[in-house]
Structure formats: structure tokens, C-alpha cells
Symmetry: C2
Subunit: 445 residues, 2 copies
Amino acid sequence: MENILEYLESNRLSELKNILNEENPVDIAEHFENLSKEKTILVFRILQKDTASEVFSYLSSEKQEEIIESITDEELKRILDELFLDDTVDLIEEMPANIVDKILKNSSSETRKLINQFLKYPENSAGGVMTVEYVSFKNDMTIGQALSYFKNVGMNKEDTDICFVIDKTRHFLGIITLKQLIIVEDDVPLVDAMDTSIPTVNTLDDQEEVADLFRKYDYNSIPVVDNENRLVGLITIDDVVDVIDQENTEDFHIMAAMEPSNEEYLRESIFSLAKHRIIWLLVLMISATATGIIIRKYESVLQSVVTLAIFIPMLMDTGGNAGSQSATLIIRGLALGEIELKDIGKIVWKEFRVSILVGIVLALVNFLRIYYIDQVGFTIAMVVCFSLLITVIIAKVVGGSLPIIAKALKLDPAIMASPLITTIVDACALAIYFQLSSHFLNLVS
Amino acid sequence: MENILEYLESNRLSELKNILNEENPVDIAEHFENLSKEKTILVFRILQKDTASEVFSYLSSEKQEEIIESITDEELKRILDELFLDDTVDLIEEMPANIVDKILKNSSSETRKLINQFLKYPENSAGGVMTVEYVSFKNDMTIGQALSYFKNVGMNKEDTDICFVIDKTRHFLGIITLKQLIIVEDDVPLVDAMDTSIPTVNTLDDQEEVADLFRKYDYNSIPVVDNENRLVGLITIDDVVDVIDQENTEDFHIMAAMEPSNEEYLRESIFSLAKHRIIWLLVLMISATATGIIIRKYESVLQSVVTLAIFIPMLMDTGGNAGSQSATLIIRGLALGEIELKDIGKIVWKEFRVSILVGIVLALVNFLRIYYIDQVGFTIAMVVCFSLLITVIIAKVVGGSLPIIAKALKLDPAIMASPLITTIVDACALAIYFQLSSHFLNLVS
């Protein structure tokens, strides 16, 4: 459709209604983001009842708030009835207190109880991600009975390809795919057709572990159970995609020395942006003092041969880059579960050999450049290149091992990324550089 | 199960067989990785026929090669018959020539044709990721007819929650979920129950665009069509999780100045690791020359007040960190589709204000530290802190805008990450520092 505003201005509402009802709810929701509050309500009210709740679940929280404020209790009740519980919980977590009151007032007492239950799960746990709109069958049913039951209750449940089999005390027994339900003969007992090899997760499991399970087993849904193995929910892989995006964003932020934020950049205030950045900048700025102290210690060396200062940036940058390459590979390997703590020996040995290869090439190229092109004296050129080689070796071994050590200490390996490695490697690089300089140039430090 | 080797050594094969056939194929595949070649074949042969192919698809390519080498043509044929076409294509892409010959020899001529078709799709395209084991119904069927058809053909198809509706020339018309198939009355025409609002992708679309579609719409599967809108395949969200992991790994690698690699770190040779790192290290090392030239230009300033050198690492590091924070936020925002080219003005203005906030705090803390604790002279302390403020502002504005500019130039924004930003910011920082120093300390450069 071309422009929703044109329809509104020329008052062709029934035409607009027909066009909107053909569209995907995700796309309809997008139209709303550019409408004024008044027009938002107008357009929202012409949507079909069942489409309206789905569109509502895809709106930004600002738009949701506008709508809830303006509609009647009757209308709100109808939306809440259709909304999946996990969407209602997300809504409550985003809304200000007066809106939350209006939502709770218009929810059934049963829904309110479930909402309370949900709000108790830790933010990044399986319980916080799961949905409760699944279909479960009792273990004494046949395929045919399960099919009839599904015809009755399936409509308002999450779109998924599996249902669950439970015993009479709700203990989880296995899954049955919709495909099996259709294909297997009606008189076969459910328990004979179900798959019992599917892994389950506990409500309190971390969402990152859940994502790893989805990566390992190619299922589209995984059951969530409580400590007594009773079925309480279902996690679908489309929620896991959000989890993976969120966890990756966190790693990117931490690796660039920021406190992670899930707010979209363009929506975040400048104070919030500054707050997330300042702590690490301060910490790293003060840590860089160590490098300053090393220079101060060798001030007389620098005074005698001030040319030495020319190569400080090159040494620092190359060391930092070499270290952050190694750290990034290891941090990523740990995040994807490809690297484990016990691999530290292998990693150090591998990084050591790689650093010698890389370091020799860099040192040779650098020697050719500064000796033949920049016409620096032979001894200084040798000192610079030898410092470069040692710096690269230290950078890669430190960069490769610190993330593993962080993991062993139960810290997030991502903090051992470029900024911290750079600070550490800088100090080492300059200490080596000045030590070699004062030795080979016969200077007194 | 405790240890597969114990069963083998005590020759309790039928016991092992029973235990393995209860396990999830993914877990069975894991056991193989620690077995010798001889034992691999032995255990593989005791698996049930249908489990064997599934386990095979989860093995590492080394194990797959061992098995194909050792089994008979008959056995290989049976595995290939059960394997999904996309798994066969992956297999062919990984295997050496003699194994590929053995595979093709034992595939049906129809499969060989399809394999050839698949191998023609670009590596990171929708065609390369899709599967062809989907179920499609003709548009003149009723729900009941579709159900009977599904019962006949569904068994060997990919596990998914949707089927497709096509016309007699295979043009894609819409989807029907298994849920709808079960719930809707048998005499309803398919075309009345199908959903036509689902987006499709073209075989040649980039896999990253496909992942974005899955992110936006909460579908578990998306149809793949050719240029004439004829249905050719299906992409399921579990394949998209692999794509997302792969694209993120690429971004992490590029942002740490490496050529991206999809090989697991521990499996990659040291020469391959070195090769992926050396180019960028060389480029950045040579770029750092610019910073060296600036120092050389101001050599006499540094000669007069060698103390100035003490603050070079702090200025360079802080500038680099401030810039990489901004660059990372923008690169990530672009990757998730939250930021677009047209936002560049907003971003520069936002980064400018954030940088002033952050820069003032950093400069103040730094002044307190170097003036009161390090007892540096007032003028030098002022010059250092003022340089710091300007460096942070430049770093954040450059860091925030370069990824957008890269995107506008059709380059990967991820190259504008920490290493490149650091190199650029270093040169600016030092130029400002020495310029301010020579001005305020009345030195001649």
C-alpha cells in the first residue's frame, strides 16, 4: 500500500480496512510507527478483532502505551484475551505503573496468577523466555484421541510443530510432532509414537544454555520443566533467535569496553549512552598510566635518542592489533562452545607458533621500510624490529590465554578483548623497547 | 551411557545396540568422535538403518570420510537415500575427489541432477541454505485431500510446521500450517485456508537478508522461489541460526582485523591462522607510519620537553577506545537493521554530544591525577587534558560516521572497527597534542 495517511485524509476508511486486513500483521504494525496518537487509535479500531491483538504485540512500547491509554476497558480486555501470556508479561515489564494497573484490572484472575508466576523468573532464564500456550496430551491417549483434542484446543496455541505427552501428574514424558499426528494410524497409542530423546530445560536455566541446546539439536521447540520434571512451558526457536542476537550484542558491547545495553542506539538518550561508556574509559585511561610510568623511567634514554619516540605508536598499535586478533578468536570460540577450559595448553602453543610466523613477517617488512626508506640507523632499526617480534609474541600469547583464564574465574571472557589486551600489551611493548634500546644503544636509563 | 569402549572391549554389542538406539542421533554422533577408524565402522554398522543416516549427517567430515571409505556401495546407497539433499550437498563440498566420486556413483541420476543444480547456487545465497524436502499441495485440493496426500509423502520430508500451496505450473500461492490442516474442516478448499501474507525469498538472495526476514516475521520456515515465482525450496529457522552464528563470527573476525574464517579455531592450521591475520596487521602497521611522521615533525618539541612523551600512550589508548565504542554501536545497529544510511546526521549529532559529556569527565579526572598526584606543571596538564577532550570528540564522531560511510560505499561496515579507527584517531590525537604543546609551551616545531 502506498500511504496510509492519504486514505485517512480522504476518509476512505473501508478501503483502508480491506487493504490492511490483507497484510501481514508485522507490516501493519510498521505503519503505526509514523502515525499521530489520534490517527493511531482510529486505524487500530478499524482492524479485524483477531488481527488487532497480533498487530498490537508487534508495536513499539510507545505505541502500545498510547493505545492502552485511549481505548475502553472492554477493548483492552479483548486484546488481552487474545495475547499470548509471554507477550502480556513483556508488555507489563515495559509499561509505567498506571498502565500496568489498567492491564491487570482487565485480565482474568487466572491470567494474573500466571503473570505473577512469570515475573518471578530471572530475566535471562528459560522461564522468562518460554511460552505457556502449548498443547499437551495425556499418556493414555491414542493418536486419534490426541487429534480430536488438538482440534478443540489447538487454535489459540503458539504455532509450533510439536506437542507434548505428560502423565496425570504433569510429568514430561516425550514429544509428538504434528507430522506424526497426521501420519501415524489413529489407533496407535501416543506413547508408542512419541520421541523421548528430546532434551528438556529447567525454568531456571540460563537462556544462553538454552540457545546452545537449540544449536546442537536441530529442534524447533524444546520443553521447559520444573525441578520435579513437570511440564511448565515451551521455548520456540524464533525466541531463541532473539536470545542469540541479544547475547551477541552484549558480547560486541563488552568487547568494545562498554556496559551492555539492549536499548536501540537511536532510542537511547545521550546520558544513558555516556553512562554505559564512561566507566571503562576511566578504568582504561588510568591503567594506561602504567605505560606512562615506563616511559618516565626511561626518560633519559628518550632524551638521548628522541627518534625512538617515532616508533612508539607503531609498536603499540601492532601489539594491540595482534593481541586482539587472538583474544577475539578465543572469545568467539568459547561463546560457540568450540573451545573449552582444558584447551588452554593447546591454545598457548598454537598462538606461540602463529605469533612467530606473523611476527617475523612483520619485523622483516618493517626493517625494510625503516632501514631502506626512512634511512634509520641499523642498530635502531634492529632494536625496533626485534621489539616488534617480541611484542607480537607476548600479545598473541596473552590475548589467547586471558579469555580462558577469565572463563576459569567465572568472569565473562568478553571483557578480555581488545581494549584491556591493548593496555596490557602497550606496557609490555614499551618496557621491551626501551630495555633493548638502552642496552644496544649503550644508553643509561 | 558410561563408556562405549567398555561395551566394545567386553564385546557386549547387542547391549550397546539397544542403548544407542534409545539415544538422540546428535548424542550418538558425539560418541563416534573418540573412536578409532576400525571401531567407528563397527559401531556404525550396529545402528538401526534409519538412525544410521541421521547420525551420519551429524558426524564431523573426518568421520564421514572414514565411514564412506570403508563401507560397501550397497551400504552407502542406503545412507544417501535417507539423507536430505542439502546434507548430501554439504558432504560433497567437504569430501576429497575420490570420495565425491564414490558418492555420486551411488546416487540416483535424479539426485545427481539436483546436486548439480545446488552446487551452482552462490555459497551464501538462499539457494545454498535451502532444503528441497518440503511438502506442496495443488491449489485445487481441499483440506481433506491435502491431509491424505501428506499421509503418503510427509514421512521423508523435513520436520517443519508448514506446507506450501502451488498452482499447476508450480507458482507459489501461499502456505498452510500443519495446525490448520488438522483443525480446519476437511471439505474446506485449501485456497480458502491458506495464508498468503508470508514473504518469500529468491534463490539468489543473500543469506543475511534471509536471516533479517526471519527476525522480522516470527515464522519457522520461509519459501524459496525462483525468478518466475516458482517454488523451489524451503528455508527452516534452524538453518538460519547457523547463518546468524556464521555472520556474527564473520563480523567479530573482521572487527578484530582478520579475514573471516568459518573453520573452528582448534582445527585450523597455524599457517591458515597466520594467513588470515597477516594482511591486516601489515596494512595497519604501515598506516601507523603516519603517526610516526607526525612525531618526527614535532621531534624538536619532544626534544625540549621529553615529559610530553609520557602521555602519548594514554592519549592514543583513550582515543582508540572512545572511537571503537562508537564504531561498535553503529556497526551492530547496522547489522541488526536498527540503523540506516539516512540516520548519519542524527548519529554524528548524538556522538558529538556524548563525546562532550564523556570527554569532560575524562579530562577532569585526568587533570586531577596528573596535576595533583603526578605533579606535572599546570600548562602541560592543561595541554594534555585539552588534547584529551578534543581527541575523544574526534574519535567518537569519526567512529560513529565511518561505518555508515562504509555502508554507503557498499563496503562491509565491520572493517571500520577498532583497529582502523584507532590508527586514524592516533594520528589526529598526536597532531593535536603536539600542536597545542608547541603553542602553549612556546616551543618551535
